[in-house]
Symmetry: C3
Amino acid sequence: MSVSVQEVMGSAATTSVQYSFPVNQWYVAALAWELKEKPVGRTLLNKPVVLFRTADGKPAALENRCCHRALPLSDGTVEDGGIRCGYHGLLFNDAGKCIEIPGQDKIPSKAKVPAYHVTERDQIVWIWFGDDEHPEPLCEPPAYNVHSSGKYLFDGDVYHYDAPYQLIHDNLMDLSHLGYVHLRTIGGNASIHMTAKMTVESENDVVRVIRHMPASVPPPTYTAAYPFKDKVDRWQEIEFHVSHLRIWTGAMDAGEDSLSNPERGGFHMRGFHGVTPESDTTSHYFWTIATNPKSDPEVVKQKVVEQTKMTFDEDKVVIESQYKNMCRFGALPMIDIHVDTGANRARRIVEQLRTVKL
Amino acid sequence: MSVSVQEVMGSAATTSVQYSFPVNQWYVAALAWELKEKPVGRTLLNKPVVLFRTADGKPAALENRCCHRALPLSDGTVEDGGIRCGYHGLLFNDAGKCIEIPGQDKIPSKAKVPAYHVTERDQIVWIWFGDDEHPEPLCEPPAYNVHSSGKYLFDGDVYHYDAPYQLIHDNLMDLSHLGYVHLRTIGGNASIHMTAKMTVESENDVVRVIRHMPASVPPPTYTAAYPFKDKVDRWQEIEFHVSHLRIWTGAMDAGEDSLSNPERGGFHMRGFHGVTPESDTTSHYFWTIATNPKSDPEVVKQKVVEQTKMTFDEDKVVIESQYKNMCRFGALPMIDIHVDTGANRARRIVEQLRTVKL
Amino acid sequence: MSVSVQEVMGSAATTSVQYSFPVNQWYVAALAWELKEKPVGRTLLNKPVVLFRTADGKPAALENRCCHRALPLSDGTVEDGGIRCGYHGLLFNDAGKCIEIPGQDKIPSKAKVPAYHVTERDQIVWIWFGDDEHPEPLCEPPAYNVHSSGKYLFDGDVYHYDAPYQLIHDNLMDLSHLGYVHLRTIGGNASIHMTAKMTVESENDVVRVIRHMPASVPPPTYTAAYPFKDKVDRWQEIEFHVSHLRIWTGAMDAGEDSLSNPERGGFHMRGFHGVTPESDTTSHYFWTIATNPKSDPEVVKQKVVEQTKMTFDEDKVVIESQYKNMCRFGALPMIDIHVDTGANRARRIVEQLRTVKL
């Protein structure tokens, strides 16, 4: 099984191939704490993969198929030497080489499965597939020091989406839906969200959407977590990378500091959002939310995580309903409105990276 | 998404198109009491539609897809001005025109969704789609004064069928199955049902099947609802219209009056059956049952409705099993028996109306 | 609906047709005790069949489709004269002839459904379909006197598999997986299973795999059922027939007798395994397990049956997961190991019998 590819016919000089996803990227394969004693089976970019830790704690990723009788290796068990198939006991090391066939002395050289590049960094397990020209990573996986700086408490989860990855990008790049979808949690006043001044910048493959909402009424999640005096100056900063987004939001007492000061105080919610295609039509959504409680740190963190879960549950309902309806109606034209600027710029980047010139 | 169409090749003079359903008809879209505060999303004749009431209480029907990002409008909320999308808050009036884009002054002229003709009459909400030549209704929607005369108490429900609409027609046009499928409720004696004299008449697009069963033992539903002395003269009158049927049945004490007298007394059960294709292979079934209790009107009505529900549940099991088996076996020939006369005549009418000459 | 057939192109002299299954075989249709008052609907070799008993207790099998309106006959009722359709009451005898149409005197000659050859033998109901050349059975159905000798207590069950029949063959022909899949029950020591000497013999369409494991530690199921002194001499004898397998296993106190003596004593578990394709991708698995308790016969039998169920549940999980993964990955090459000898020989026999020369 390979990544879906659509050949784009062109003149001899411009023939190109369009992948379903940008493939020369590090994608999130797992959150670090998912990989414990049991192996994890997960399809990523149309490739079924088994993830596990080796004896020294490093993550490993193999094609999730025993080369003997095709059982998923994720049905097997993790041992010091690697992963053992749950049917006839073949043992594979982290390079995919079969190192034991119970009851048989000779191990044929064909007894092996493909292995993939995985690296754990800042509690995120990243995987690189690459196209045929780039099986080796072109760069280091991204850092995310919110997880390792010690300044924040955080937690997170993995959601499965019956929707293609770009609909999740669209949702995350536009926070104006907060006023309609997330009234109960982080929404606040719809018209303030809609009329807030929005700045959209981009540089290489990164897009930034920034919105400042001075003198806002703080939404329920905020007041539950932080002792604001009254109105707040609120910010939302979205940074789109091809395989993940950082959404850093927060608020401070109105007038306390400049909204543009990166060192400003107040209440922070720093969200990490890894969006990894499972298939052309389904996705994995790996998220963490980090915060800086003023007091009762564990209690406040729990509250923030709970509220965030509620919010993401609401998004999931909307996005899956949207995709189901898109399937129902087929490719009808859509109209754009003012809130789509950031999402559309992200889409152009993805579009470009999906297309590989031959 | 449009109505499925199959081109029928023919000579130049007789080229015609075959729709999956007769399209130039009023179909039942909803029972009046279904449309409350929340919008109703429902696919009718392969078209996903959102149904709601405007501020003045009139029903409205739009294509169930926001023109911005394709969310079903039925996920949104009904307001005085129309229906508001649950994602980014676009507001559409009952003509499908977008009349508000939150945070944006100018509304592009393309911001609109198709609207359909709907009319409420006698507590039934009717919808007209029509073919390309007949987008405007060719007639008024049908009256059903059993719902408005004040002589009857009634209630009803909507069932979803995993079976195409014509199998429901077949079932309703032939009441001889009562003796096998509905023994516990309205069935009565199988052989009486099977040997009862049956009259089949038709006129234009209407078919009538009439059966009289004099001196019958009244079935459980009847005796539970009405104080019959002993045996009864029983009638069944089925009137097929292309998009709905009326099945008026009842009984009076044997010999009390002529079975042919439309003003005859006794116990009446007047059934309305709206059969609206959802897709080529699935259907909506809107039914009401009205009766004229002699005493304890609410109690008796409840009993009649309950028994009717049980009966229709039994039919649903049979019809869905039948359709599943038809799919399993494919297009094998069927044999006809004496009870099929009415149903076959209805099928010929539908066949004719599905075919539109070009 | 007919058995799936794939035409194999060849030279004029060797043109042949490849069926999905060997069709000129007796297959298990039911365990005797499944056929009680209610008819059983079951698809066998892609043919939907209704099974029932006639007034004299003999099994009958008809195409599971009323010739009137296609309802499955298995939704109907068994009567002395045959089986009556649950929709309009047509009655069919065990030859498939319609012998009553309620309310209609004349029965058209076309009113009939296909009937199949079924025979009950040793509490197994066998069915013969045959190809177009061999609609009549070419032999008697197999005997299985473990069910009738009186020496054993037994019970069994029917499992439905979302996997094609040959994956079940593979599993049954190789008992080396016991050490990995069935540790909790009949597994025992993995390395003993894997290194046990295995003999594979074949003769016509029968394959025998025999393994002797002298001086083994008896596994949990064995010690629960039989008072072994200490270590045991253990045997596994698998006999593959095209439509079913016999797996006779057991153990006696180490050194008690020769493992090759067919009259040896000790603890016996005699398994019958009817593997009948439902479709190209799904299967029925009819199994019984018989044993010879030393004391507390009913209690011990119950224990053995329970443990066997647990074992077969484990196999089902593995095999269905294996098949799902094969579908995920498509036709990738597999490697063979030492344990595959028996299964591969069985596959060659099936391959040969599926191919019919024209």
